[in-house]
Symmetry: C2
Subunit: 403 residues, 2 copies
Amino acid sequence: MHTTLTIVNKTHIIIQLRDIKGEKMLYEKKRPEPPEEYYRVPVDVLKEYTIEFFKAFGVCDRDAEIAADVIITADLFGIESHGVQRLRRYYYTPLAKGVIKPHGNISIVKEGPTYAVVDGNNGIGLIIGVKAMRIAIKKAKKSGVGFVLVRNSSHYGIAGYHAKVASDNGLIGISMTNSQPLVAYTNTIGRNIGTNPIAVAIPTKNPPPILVDMATSIVPMGKIEVALRLEKEIPLGWGMNERGELTKNPKDIFHGGALLPLGGLGETLGGHKGSCLAILVDILSGVLPKSGWGANVYSPSSGRSPKVGHFFMAIDIEKVMPIEEFYSLIEAYKKYIKGLKKHPNADRIWIPGEKSWRTMTTRMKLGIPIHISVMKELEEISRELGIKEYYEKIKRNAKRLLS
Amino acid sequence: MHTTLTIVNKTHIIIQLRDIKGEKMLYEKKRPEPPEEYYRVPVDVLKEYTIEFFKAFGVCDRDAEIAADVIITADLFGIESHGVQRLRRYYYTPLAKGVIKPHGNISIVKEGPTYAVVDGNNGIGLIIGVKAMRIAIKKAKKSGVGFVLVRNSSHYGIAGYHAKVASDNGLIGISMTNSQPLVAYTNTIGRNIGTNPIAVAIPTKNPPPILVDMATSIVPMGKIEVALRLEKEIPLGWGMNERGELTKNPKDIFHGGALLPLGGLGETLGGHKGSCLAILVDILSGVLPKSGWGANVYSPSSGRSPKVGHFFMAIDIEKVMPIEEFYSLIEAYKKYIKGLKKHPNADRIWIPGEKSWRTMTTRMKLGIPIHISVMKELEEISRELGIKEYYEKIKRNAKRLLS
């Protein structure tokens, strides 16, 4: 491919590297900001560290590899909130306290040709999720569709990862989970339902798959945490304060406030629809598997078993049409969307999952941006867990963005 | 039940009739506005008229009863946009032109223990939807879950009706349909994807079921039509004009403008999430059944076969736990939601579907509000179809709200 390359400095490579059609070849949906506070770390060394992190808690090699892949995929997809910066709060703390167990042993409580009820036995959600989706896939390949209900799990990382396990196998994958309450249900105040994401993956002939991965709140809590760290205001509409008023101050969300459901405050712009979706996810992934739901799902740092529940479904396309035919239809669909009339204020028209995918391919090349504070945390963790050599390897291979 | 009743005038009964706890007994989610332009028509005579309407086009008795029940349920639920006021545009015109056929004959193109692909043969979506969902239910009862993909159908009324067919049988029901393009996909302008609703019904021991029924746009087109008729502004955020700007003028939506996806314009408040949901519905109910999708779904008045597609799924709860246990859990869930801290500006906290259900019980008692212009239309139709006696019956039993 013919490219024009103008390197202004290392940060600006990203917007200068274009192919012959003028398209950006490198793209990140969130760019490291401010760049001087970031390193870029090669994917393989960051993943190796993450594998060793889980192994240090007694997770077996194969399961540690799964867990690390979910975490690193979040970083690659540009969903840093669910990446290595969560190792401490979401995994270290509850594993150390014993409220999450390092085993990856799931029990099948009930099973039929199209369904299974699985007990995660308070293991690591990242691993439980992948294993449960594999069961759903197996059942779908045999029966056309399979669903798996999971109880007593914990945070399973990005919902989209698990959906993608199905699309990687040529099936449609659906993945849902409940979470500790962070959102104010319509017409209420305070945090009382989870951000309860829904992910759906549609396989395509060539990557990327069509991948929807969305909290049923306007934004996940990670975005508020980022605004806090950067001491920036949040857009009006993302959350409410303790009195139920819209706020631009991210601190308000943590002091009695709450996130808002997709559609926002009240019903005028459809806030009740986001709330409805959140309830449906809670019923399918919490009530139906007899796991926690509502306020009975606990945060990883609560010191209690999280009782997170999940719902997985796989649909085998081949049962209804030859997969190649489906792939052609989906290519036509993508082409239709890409060919729509672009809004004058928009950068471009995106297919669901495309931004994450392009961020991933970019970060495979340039490395994953890691904030200096996260680097410090990784160092501390490595000392505490006796995996310092893997941190050293990160350090050796990391590049400061601007020095 | 002890009640306090203060009749100010016939319209105001609704807010004055309270039970002993001070709860409103009668409730309508949309009150006839302005009241002097409305009649109230008893449910049975309106339904009888609607049955005869379909029979006049050659629809058989049993199918006409199904079609009328879907239409009248919309009016009862307070979703007038999908009720008898649509008979002319959505059913009369395409039936008269022959682009929709009066038969209710669906063909099963492909079938397995958990799935079926159904061809609606350009019949009436209202009827096709119910028949397809019944197939999904039968499969779910046997296998745990069943899904049915429908091609070559037409507008199937309110999505929630079909989901409720499953919950009426004690199963979880999912119903989706695509529609002619009315919404601007994120970062585009113009109408290019459908309002593509999603409905999910969760059975409960006693009615109402938990019933989510939502367009994946902020509002369905019906709300814009109502604003137009009342010559009122629409809230900023519902739609865009032909240049992609937000507008309060409902006329703009019809002159090159479009509805906006749930989450609104751009991505700041999650508009891409609504767009993602719309695409998923289009893929599951349009692409997967090999029906129309995107711009290849046509409006009922276009003169073309609408090529609307649907997706139905039923999940049998009894496979994973005794239904009575599920019912107890759902009652606890409803109690949890109802017991949350109410927002100071809110009237009350609602369970999904509760507003529609209470509107229905109210209208069963008081009759369905019919606008004078709709009355006139029903009269004209009755003359054209030779079913004048059924209109006369409506007229005899209708009461003016304020005279």
